[in-house]
């Protein structure tokens, strides 16, 4: 009974460790990912219904194709991918660790005989002396040697680049780290946006998911918004906002942000993403009391009632940049002290003298007008992003290590052979064998010279 159970769990374990599963998942993920690039994601329901019809729309909803990268099956496949990766690493890591902990100091007879890279020579010299010289030569030209003896033979062992055995594990670990970073960001972070009119501030932002605003424990003040255009056109060159962070009314931080250069405070990052008109122009209006000639200046927002001397008030109700070719003009009315609206009239910015002729208690002039902009900010809180970068850096180093470096080992065996010393040298690399063979040819030339105890003369 127990035996059967064992083999069952073994089978499951083997399944999760298998590279066939890895290949299958990789190709399946590639294939399934295509769906979301062909079918628009997260569009309003009407769009799918218009394009594909009601029944297909329902099918898409059931299969979670509308938001497929967050569907249970896609996330599940990514999960299986990580389980596969973890199991495989657990299974194989001890073998790699053994290479580090217990290097094979003595070459087996099989290795000595069958290596692709080998050198065999005879020497009249004592093997002790020869070992000494080879050891110091290899220390200089290849790597430090470890000496051991068995059966009256002397063995030297040297290795280089053992860390490259870890390249694959480093890469695999990095993938898990990136995924972990993404999960952290999804759970504890959010994406939001906020529009702030110039000269105003906010302490809440609007999450992309959900209706309720998110309260911040600080205030963001938009001091100024600027946009510049490339000469001779309306292609925006740059737009930027002066943001100030305030806490309890005190300025904490200020930065001019622009596209590609955001501001971060308390884990929240504000990205310049759009801009627009607030649609609430402000008018600088000069009011003259006709009787006395006394003049006042006001900054009037559109629709706002502003008090005048002796109980009257006025309000600007509309504005146009060009009224019947006369240029900018505003429409306004004056309220009597008992709150009755007077008849609306028009004031042209470029022709102030017209309003003087209108008669009445006051005459108005439009000195200036301003159309404040709002700055559109993306707001992101992503506590996982550093983890993702860490994973990315590890991934780049890991894959370079895995591909471009190899573990190279070299063994020397010295034995007495009828009054002479038989020298056998073999070497191998766990990757890029052709390249290593060339390097070994080079090295063996020098090794021969060292064994014969003369300096090499390179011929042609």
């Amino acid at each position: 009974m127990t035996e059967k159970k064992d083999s069952y769990t073994d089978r499951i374990w083997d399944f999760f460790c298998s590279l066939k599963l890895t290949l299958f998942i990789m190709l399946l993920l590639a294939l399934l990912s295509i769906i979301g690039t062909v079918l628009q994601q997260n569009a309003p329901a009407e769009e799918y219904i218009r394009e594909y019809g009601q029944s297909y729309y329902e099918l898409f909803v059931n299969l979670q194709f509308i938001d497929m990268y967050h569907s249970w099956w896609f996330i599940g496949l990514l999960g299986l991918f990580s389980v596969n990766l973890i199991c495989c690493s657990i299974k194989n890591f001890p073998r790699v660790w053994k290479f580090v902990k217990e290097p094979m100091l003595v070459a087996t007879p099989g290795t000595l005989k069958n290596s692709a890279n080998r050198l065999e020579m005879n020497s009249k010299e004592e093997k002790e002396q020869l070992a000494e010289r080879l050891s110091s030569f290899l220390g200089k030209e290849f790597a430090k040697t470890i000496r051991s003896e068995s059966d009256g033979k002397i063995f030297l062992f040297a290795q280089k680049g053992i860390y490259s055995r870890f390249g694959a594990y480093m890469t695999h670990l990095s993938i898990l780290i990136v995924m972990a970073g993404a999960v952290i960001g999804n759970i504890w972070g959010y994406k939001a946006y906020v529009n702030i009119a110039e000269g105003t501030s906010t302490n809440r932002v609007w999450a992309h998911s959900g209706q309720l605003p998110i309260d911040l424990d600080f205030t963001v003040y938009c001091e100024d918004f600027d946009i510049s255009y490339y000469p001779g056109g309306n292609r925006p060159k740059d737009y930027n906002s002066n943001l100030v962070i305030l806490e309890n009314g005190k300025e904490i931080l200020r930065k001019r942000i622009e596209v590609n250069d955001p501001l971060t405070y308390k884990g929240l990052t504000f990205y310049q993403s759009s801009y627009g008109s607030t649609g609430k122009p402000v008018f600088k209006v000069k009011v003259t009391v006709n009787k006395t000639g006394e003049a006042f200046n006001f900054n009037a927002r559109q629709g706002e009632h502003i008090r005048l001397p002796n109980g009257h008030a006025f309000a600007v109700t509309s504005f146009t940049l060009n009224d019947r070719k006369f240029g900018p003009a505003m429409q306004l009315h004056v309220n009597t002290p008992d709150g009755k609206h007077g008849r609306p009239f028009i004031v042209w910015k470029n022709y102030p003298e017209i309003d003087v002729k209108r008669g009445g208690l006051f005459s108005f002039a439009l000195i200036d007008h301003d159309d404040p902009q709002y700055t559109g900010l993306q707001v992101a809180k992503d506590p996982g992003v550093e983890v993702v970068w860490l994973g990315c850096i590890l991934m780049v180093f890991g894959s370079l290590t895995a591909f471009f470096f190899s573990h190279r080992r070299l063994w020397v065996c010295l034995e007495d052979d009828g009054g002479r010393t038989k020298v056998q040298i073999v070497a191998n690399a766990h990757r890029n064998q052709p390249g290593f063979s060339l390097a070994f040819d080079d090295l063996s030339e020098k090794l021969e010279a060292t064994i014969e105890n003369k300096s090499i003369v390179k011929e042609g």
Binding site: L23, L27, S33, E258, N260, Y271
Partner: protein
């Protein structure tokens, strides 16, 4: 804006040189004359030097056209295709230097040539100023790494086609005497298979770096390093295909025919990721449509 840049004329010249080099490679295969092969490689090298100079010149010209808003010539579809061609020739020359296999040029230079012809004929070569989203150094790192990676995949695809052409004949061809004709000049299938693998080993880490730098840029510009837009998703698809290629090879010994087909599939996906997404699908990376 004025598109009659001097660099454009050099790019035309480069296109002609690549055409000549390709014809020479074909002649070399047909006539089995080593001198022709050498001239073809030298022509490719000469074209590459001119190509490099013209890229530098276009960079300089952007400052003449745009004043202080000049920028690296890697920011629109035209410039990226020209750079893609440059990267293909670079990777080819590096592998030629290492493997000394002339005939590979006949299957790689066409990719470089088609890119140049496409860019010169159909794409808008104006030096236009950059919209704010593209004003980032990350863009430069992103484009360079992606296209060097793509170039590795292009070379791998070229040798895979050679491999498939040769292996079919080789299996039918009996006997000791070496294969004659065009295929006789191809490198041995073992070497073709190895170059396929080597080129992907160059391409894959670069593409990984390309995806990472792209994510970094997106994070600075929009606050999300990954948003599953079609371009990002297709680059991940390409990444998965080549990761599968590498693992199949490392541990399951997928070599030869299957590796060659996988490499061709991977390059088809790469081309779709690069051009297909811009032309067929829509997304954030819309600079291609400009």
């Amino acid at each position: 804006m004025d598109s009659g840049q001097f660099s454009g004329q050099i790019f035309n010249l480069v296109t002609i040189i690549y055409f000549v080099a390709m014809v020479l490679f074909f002649l070399y295969l047909a006539a089995r004359n080593n001198t022709l092969g050498l001239i073809a490689t030298l022509a490719s090298f000469g074209g590459f030097i001119a190509h490099t100079a013209a890229l530098g010149l276009r960079w300089y010209e952007s400052y003449q056209v745009l004043g202080e808003d000049g920028r690296v010539p890697l920011t629109n579809l035209y410039e990226s295709v020209v750079f893609f061609s440059w990267s293909i020739v670079l990777v080819y020359l590096l592998l030629d230097w290492k493997y000394k296999q002339r005939s590979v040029g006949a299957f790689v230079m066409p990719f470089a040539l088609f890119s140049m012809v496409g860019a010169q004929m159909w794409l808008n070569a104006d030096i236009d100023p950059l919209v704010p989203a593209l004003q980032s150094n990350w863009l430069t790192y992103h484009v360079i790494t992606c296209f060097l990676g793509y170039a590795g995949f292009a070379v791998a695809c070229g040798v895979s086609i050679m491999y498939l052409m040769k292996i079919g004949k080789e299996e039918k061809h009996q006997g000791e005497k070496p294969m004659g004709g065009l295929l006789g000049l191809f490198p041995s299938t073992r070497i073709l298979d190895d170059i396929n693998y080597q080129a992907i080993m160059i391409g894959f880490p670069l593409m990984t770096l390309g995806i990472v730098t792209g994510a970094a840029w997106a994070n600075y510009a929009w606050g999300t390093y990954w948003s599953w837009d079609p371009k990002e998703t297709w680059s991940l698809i390409v990444w998965f295909i080549y990761a599968a290629f590498i693992h199949a090879r490392f541990t399951r010994g997928w070599v030869g025919r299957r590796a060659a087909w996988l490499s061709i599939l991977g390059f088809a996906a790469t081309i779709f990721c690069y051009l297909g997404v811009n032309l067929v699908l829509s997304g954030l990376h819309s600079y291609g449509s400009a």
